[in-house]
Symmetry: C4
Subunit: 279 residues, 4 copies
Amino acid sequence: MEKTPLEYDYTPQENPFLKRIYRVIYFSDTKAGKLFDIALLLLIFISTFLVMLETVNFINVKYSGLFFTVQMIITVLFSIEYILRILTIKDKKEYIFSPLGIIDFISIIPFYLSLIFPVLHFFVIVRMLRMLRVFRIFNLADYQQDGRFIVKALKESSRKIYIFLLFLIIFIIIIGSLMFVIEGGRNGFSSIPQSIYWAVVTITTVGYGDISPVTSGGKFLAIIVMLCGYSIIAVPTGIVSSQFRRQSQSGDSCDRCGNGENDKNARFCKICGEKILDK
Amino acid sequence: MEKTPLEYDYTPQENPFLKRIYRVIYFSDTKAGKLFDIALLLLIFISTFLVMLETVNFINVKYSGLFFTVQMIITVLFSIEYILRILTIKDKKEYIFSPLGIIDFISIIPFYLSLIFPVLHFFVIVRMLRMLRVFRIFNLADYQQDGRFIVKALKESSRKIYIFLLFLIIFIIIIGSLMFVIEGGRNGFSSIPQSIYWAVVTITTVGYGDISPVTSGGKFLAIIVMLCGYSIIAVPTGIVSSQFRRQSQSGDSCDRCGNGENDKNARFCKICGEKILDK
Amino acid sequence: MEKTPLEYDYTPQENPFLKRIYRVIYFSDTKAGKLFDIALLLLIFISTFLVMLETVNFINVKYSGLFFTVQMIITVLFSIEYILRILTIKDKKEYIFSPLGIIDFISIIPFYLSLIFPVLHFFVIVRMLRMLRVFRIFNLADYQQDGRFIVKALKESSRKIYIFLLFLIIFIIIIGSLMFVIEGGRNGFSSIPQSIYWAVVTITTVGYGDISPVTSGGKFLAIIVMLCGYSIIAVPTGIVSSQFRRQSQSGDSCDRCGNGENDKNARFCKICGEKILDK
Amino acid sequence: MEKTPLEYDYTPQENPFLKRIYRVIYFSDTKAGKLFDIALLLLIFISTFLVMLETVNFINVKYSGLFFTVQMIITVLFSIEYILRILTIKDKKEYIFSPLGIIDFISIIPFYLSLIFPVLHFFVIVRMLRMLRVFRIFNLADYQQDGRFIVKALKESSRKIYIFLLFLIIFIIIIGSLMFVIEGGRNGFSSIPQSIYWAVVTITTVGYGDISPVTSGGKFLAIIVMLCGYSIIAVPTGIVSSQFRRQSQSGDSCDRCGNGENDKNARFCKICGEKILDK
């Protein structure tokens, strides 16, 4: 029984029936556990999709009744699951206040609140958060190791990326201010924040075109900025790329004990026996 | 006679005349075979190009007669080729239901159908599929190995890319929902699906500008999203880059027997003798 | 007491009181020094943020009085700090004409000038330069090494990037001229500089859409240009990426004596004892 | 006297005066030669810049007289240089029909033609080609080696890039056809070529927004296309990146004799003595 990094290793109740349910809902190493996970995934998907559709006016007008019914059923199922999760473990607090426990709670409560209070526009966001439950299903997947590989690479190079972003932001603010002065507060560059918005849109090569330089001076500055952005984009790519390479080349350091002397093909840390990330 | 990965090694008919035709149309190691391939390539190109031009109104009005004649001739030639392909081999079913066999069939049948039924708008797509026949010509090219190299790199890193896309999609959905709420369902952000469309347009740095934030809050969120997108784009590049390097650095593992211990410059697997991909 | 590359090692005054102040404002290895740096960072941030807000009309109308008061207080504090910086060291000239000394001066003088002369529009830029003081705070951060790592990589590959930019600019000018002729000076392509602006917007994949090809010929050229740009973007990334790798792979060459034979994990140059950049 | 790859090693005339001129205009290893190159660079720059300005209407109206005079002077200078280049060498044909010789000729002839014939709109392009003379100046620069490094990397990976472009183009054509059908020939997607233009604009992340999907189906397809484009962009970067690394890592193969066994730090080929590219 491999533990997952997202899930605490709760102690199950001793009652054999509860223990079996515990095994099904917290793990995916049994057939029932796998089915349970797939069902959960489907419900999350349907539920998220319906919230989206509800915001499309002409669809909502037609099917709001159907939407309500389906959401009610799904929420009730989620509620039952939530209660079972609490019942089958000993240390209930540990689960309730864990990140996943809070997401589980958030994914059911807005529906009940909307029965009492009039539906708030803002609720849409809270109801979309239900989607985050998808991370629970990751016990199921082999993908976990690859996910950890990416996260590790980003974490290792985060300091370099922060530094880069700091320089970038200062550059963007200066460019924004310059552009504000050059375009003379006209043509959409009505204030420095607006000009900074333009600078970000430009340097990241998004280029909506809702604001774009009109004067010759502005266009000239824009050309400089774009060519700079074109060269600068190489930096974060270079950082992450180089990190990826280092990770997949060197013998991995062990995640548990930090031993970095493992062989390149080692599958377990030679110091502490922890399984080593595949690359 | 090297076999290609796209083509099955069909057993030719024993009749010497059919066998010679078989050699010409299925292989490109004879002069006639090469000419045949080049002629095929040309016909495919012309045919695809004409379908495109037909959709341009003012051109079609003028030349629709010419277009019809040329397409008819090409389709008849393709039909003859299709029949010859079937006649010259023993196991006809194997060819007919192979991927290339199906494409060959699809590339001739829409024309005949359009003679019977009125021309359907949707037919354009089916007729464009004829273009896929181009892959048949790859026997001709040395490029095949490089193609396989790229495909291999993408396949090897597909799991990491899937994971990345999953995170990206969840991020996009959350951003889309947030934007829907912040812009209050106005300014083009009329529903969550519309806002998600905007989020994709923004994060991938396409930036049409058909929908763009108008409120200060929306613009601020857009700035955050763009800067994130700018840093995130490094991830797929890093993944593929690192995979390319690994592939071209290590001694290649053999495609047939999986032996990964070949020398860096080995041209044949030392276990099974399979030719090894050049890098 | 580690010296920073941005700051000269000034000799402090011998007066013990001034010496203590010197320690606090020039270094961050005491508690008071750290607090001082954080306070400075906050003031810089607030001050920059206020200049931005001042340019937003409807905000400035309401709060211009408040803005003025806060800016005055911050400028007075900066002035006191500037005077203390001068008083506590022996060689005053060295500081006053150092890059950071000039920035410190520039960050206070525009305010006093604006009291005498009417506020000039152009002043906004000068006042935004105050933001550059943020670099002073870098003594505080461990981030310095990573910053130097990035700067080193960019410097090492600068020659390759210059060459690349030269080719790119010639390519852009030719494309711009071609487009000017093809679109016949209409549709926004009213002159070669305008067309060059379009070419830059296109090749860097910014794509505002304020100018875009209208004729068939123009669109065809645009397709070619975009596909080229798509392939070319790989070059700067490749250059920087490869430089990053080389730097983090090889034993670092020493920044002081240039010795390149240090071991991969060496923390000090084995020739001159200089600390070696972490990667 | 190092020969450059762009310039043939012409045999100079034996007349000592002509020989000295030969040295000045064909090489940059003397003081006069360097001055000559810099003067040439300046003239090319001024001349190109003026052609650009001439296309800006309101400037041309004012200064057309001045522009004509300056262009005449520069063209006369270029003509003298062209004649000297021919006079000072023995094998005149070799120079006249070399790439640089042709560019030199093209950079003077349009001016004289425009004196006889009325100025043609198309001439702008021909006159801009004068800019290509800039490549002549590369003898001057150390940058040549870096330029060759980039060109070599692109050439080595060209086959992989061609393959990639082929797949990309087929993908683009299919997407374009699909979009034409989905949007039903409306909203700017009026023909398959127009839709292909849109597909290129989207996949390369340029995103002008002159054509963008309006129907739900079209937007959905656009989302898929953009996410694909986002992942695919990694491929050319990966190809070139990996090539750069390989080139700068392995001992360089000799450009002249192809010997690939040189040491990593070798500066001359150990087989034929050719200078080896620095990396």
